[in-house]
Amino acid sequence: MSLPDKRGHFGIFGGIFAPETLMEAIGELNKAYAKTKKDKGFQKELKELFKSYVGRPTPLFEATYLSRHYGSKILLKREDLAHTGAHKINNCIGQGLLARKMGKKRIIAETGAGQHGVATATAAAFFGMECHVFMGSEDIKRQAPNVQRMRLLGAEVIPVESGSKTLKDAMNEAMRDWVTNVRTTYYMIGSVAGPHPYPMMVRDFQAVIGKETKVQLKKMGLKANNIIACVGGGSNAIGIFYEFIDDKVNLIGVEAAGKGLSSGLHSAPLATGQPGVLHGSLSYLLQNKDGQVKEAHSIAAGLDYPGVGPEHSYLKDKGRVKYGTVTDTEAIRAFKLLSEKEGILPALESAHALAYLEKIEHKKNKVSVINLSGRGDKDLHILGEK
């Protein structure tokens, strides 16, 4: 059976937990999205834009230093080379096309690292739509270059001062805007979170990563033993995993352990959380005994989120994907290694996936694929301090 079911459930997870004001709009979105799946024109245009605008397929690159260093074959799926510098653009081009089909002229989005904000602003500019991006004021400080990029792309960046002033609060504020302007506005969610159909739809748009990887491995005459990706909301991870779900390969998602799981300052709901409802769906969640959502922590703004996409919760409970964690310090070490030895500055988010190479067994004939979800330019001033 293919998941989710009609109401967006992945086992007990997922669903639609949203204010009634949004329900008609969510229903409309569901219908419009279902239509695109059968719409050959839509699929053709998407494919063409992936190629000519995003720059797909992104390379599957053999990291020779890392391969020697670990004594096995390490391949990097170079989403950092996609237009705007991260996988987020795949989803935004997909949803942008859909929004245009639906006749929407006003786009809103939440952003943490600013990568989804930049990708949304880019898609909005490309499709000729008005764009407003909600961003926690804490993130505005630590991801300044992306704020500037969004503004140059013609988007309005709206600082969010509530709560932890990071991604979770930006998403709260975006949902409030959506409730207010639901008739005219398209909410472009940036990860596999939110109410159905977002977790499914964003997964489908990101699945291009895994599809390409499969073809590229075949061309290289290789089979992957491990596929590793970082998990914030989980879109780059599910994007590379999805094509391989039924194959014999270890799928490993890496959550941010921040200052260490025992410190309480981390972003690892799959490792330490319990099921709960936040932002429209049921999934593992960092929360206290009462159900109040806890603040997350990670040096990587794009991972700094107390929730996770519902499909990951399902895959964890089912045992199909293994989820591990990597601390801030370990991620920085991996960042430096890739920068100095391969000449690639990875995003701090992606550095979490890289750091996990330290924690798996390596053998000469084993192949590990890392989803290099984005580039690290946005993180320079954070790393400059370290």
């Binding site: 008609e24 709560g163 979770k168 409802v277 009462d290």
Partner: protein, 257 residues
């Protein structure tokens, strides 16, 4: 139970006052006094908010009040404890909160404890009829569940929600979050008439209401009027607790439901 109160008010040809106030704001004991004060000042039904960390249907006033309560460490247990202490002096009480607090506390457990604390019903703005099956099964015989309808709800949805909603329907006056508005849009009135034509159940209207003129216009269209943010604002404006409570009295008088 809740239905009978609406019936009585209908017979008396009266629109009910249904004030909302969050537990734990500004402190647990002070919010208890607010509830007692509201009871004395003519609340027909009391809406007790349990603060949630991520209230996506709420505007800045309720957000801030929630933050204050949660920063002080408010727990759901304490909410039930507080309500239990004063339940004999309160009008029928309805809890308003977000689904995760029900879910994490255990649906059955939450329903049982709420009923024991004298709570008659719950309103959960992020629980749609489609996802409510587990909660309805767990809370049957304990508390009623009132669902919301919005101006964007289609006729078919309003009918479906009306069927699922116990005792009355909560009409969200406008597309937006909670918070006082100077004027309600014309669409509010059109919407209320539409809901009336689609359900036999009583209806109450909330979101944005802060003024006597609004109440005068809403009275013929609605069986109940819910005020939250403007009440909190009135309470917060004064410096001392005594003055705050006086402000509430004044506010309710001026509203003239």
């Amino acid at each position: 139970m809740i239905a009978s109160i609406f019936e009585k008010a209908r017979k008396e040809n009266r629109t009910m006052l249904m004030p909302y106030f969050p537990v734990g704001y500004p402190t647990l004991s002070r919010s208890k006094k607010v509830f007692l004060n509201l009871a004395k000042n003519g609340a027909d039904l009391l809406e007790v908010g349990i603060p949630f960390s991520d209230p996506i249907a709420d505007g800045p006033v309720i957000q801030k009040a929630s933050t204050v309560a949660l920063k002080a460490g408010l727990k759901v247990e304490q909410v039930f404890g507080a309500l239990n202490d004063i339940k004999k002096k309160l009008p029928p009480t309805i809890i308003m909160t977000y689904y995760n607090l029900l879910y994490k506390n255990g649906l059955k457990n939450f329903a049982r404890k709420a009923a024991k604390a004298g709570v008659k019903g719950v309103i959960v703005p992020d629980l749609t009829v489609e996802e409510a099956k587990d909660w309805l099964a767990a809370s049957r015989d304990q508390v009623e569940t009132i669902f919301l309808v919005a101006p964007t709800s289609s006729d078919a949805r309003i009918k479906k929600i009306s069927k699922a909603s116990s005792s009355f329907l909560y009409c969200v006056s406008l597309t937006g979050v909670t918070g006082a508005r100077n004027k309600l849009p014309k669409s509010t009135y059109v919407f209320l008439k539409r809901v009336r034509s689609l359900t036999k159940k009583p209806i109450a209207v909330g979101f944005g209401i802060s003024k006597r003129e609004q109440v005068n216009e809403l009275r013929p269209l609605s069986d109940g009027i819910i005020v939250g943010s403007s009440l909190i604002k009135a309470y917060t404006k004064a410096k001392t607790e005594t003055d705050s409570l006086k402000n509430i009295e004044k506010f309710i008088k001026r509203l003239g439901v």
